[in-house]
């Protein structure tokens, strides 16, 4: 599963986001790991399962909550060469959402395909 890259061994890292963006800090702090981790030139992917798909929805307004809206940061991931974002199809559909409702281009995959993606990883960080 590991492959040689210019900087040495690159491992496949998958960040799994399972929670809604503002009920807890997991989403925000997960994104902080992704941004720091990008400097290590590993093979990075993000997965969004369950309520985690809400992290990517357009039109988030957190004024009433008095917390930072961190969804714009997902649009900056491309600058960090983090471009593989997988969203679970079943999770989107169960919440009445589609890829068009999300702030960044993603690959919508079935739960079964998601399992295969996970199987292919070296390191899975679940938040």
């Amino acid at each position: 599963m590991t492959e040689e890259s210019a900087g040495g061994i690159a491992k496949k890292f998958l960040y799994v986001n399972r929670r809604a963006p503002y009920g807890s800090i997991y989403g925000l702090e997960s994104l902080e790991v992704v941004l720091i981790g990008a400097a290590f030139e590993q093979d990075v992917s993000l997965a969004f399962l369950g309520d985690g798909v809400f992290q990517l929805t357009k039109g988030q307004d957190t004024k009433g909550l008095e917390v930072k809206n961190f969804s714009p940061t997902f649009r900056a991931l491309e600058d960090y060469d983090v471009t593989k974002l997988y969203v679970e199809k079943e999770a989107l559909e169960a919440r009445g959402l589609s890829a068009a409702d999300l702030v960044v281009p993603v690959e919508v995959v079935s739960a079964q395909r998601m399992a295969e993606i996970m199987e292919a990883q070296d390191v899975i960080l679940s938040f």
Binding site: I9, K11, F13, I25, Y26, E29, E32, V33, I36, G37, A39, F40, Q42, D122, V123, I124, L125, S126, F127
Partner: protein, 130 residues
């Protein structure tokens, strides 16, 4: 095998820290290596030396400190998560103009890069969380 450990929940509220501790102890007993234990989210609260649990309960923080001393474990508390939650060592307290510090023996404060590095260096990174 060389393990990296991630602890994402605080002591007592959640079992994650207990389970991580038991896992680390069992792994060491079987002759495995623990490359690093990284504390993130509320997991950073496992590193406060100010906890005073009831005498008939386990002392989670002290237990980590003792295990670290015995096996030269690298216990790392995430600095960003720690700053949010009021956990700091003497140097951080001074830097931030605070009048106290509370990091328990055997722990050190460092950045998220230490977690990524543990993922790269260890054969397996095991996450203990909710």
């Amino acid at each position: 095998m060389k393990f990296g450990i991630l602890v994402n929940e605080g002591p007592y509220t959640h079992e994650a820290s207990d389970t991580a501790y038991q896992f680390v102890r069992a792994a060491l007993a079987k002759g495995h290596q623990i490359y690093r234990v990284f504390f993130y989210h509320d997991g950073v609260n496992n590193g406060t030396r100010l906890t005073v649990p009831p005498q008939d309960d386990r002392n989670i923080v002290k237990r980590w400190s003792e295990l670290a001393a015995e096996h030269k474990l690298d216990l790392v508390v995430c600095i960003a998560a720690a700053q949010r939650r009021g956990l700091m060592d003497a140097a951080e307290a001074k830097r931030n103009g605070k009048d106290a510090h509370n990091l328990a023996p055997g722990f050190r404060i460092s950045g998220l890069g230490q977690l990524i590095e543990a993922g790269i260096q260890a054969d397996r990174l095991v996450v203990f969380g909710d």
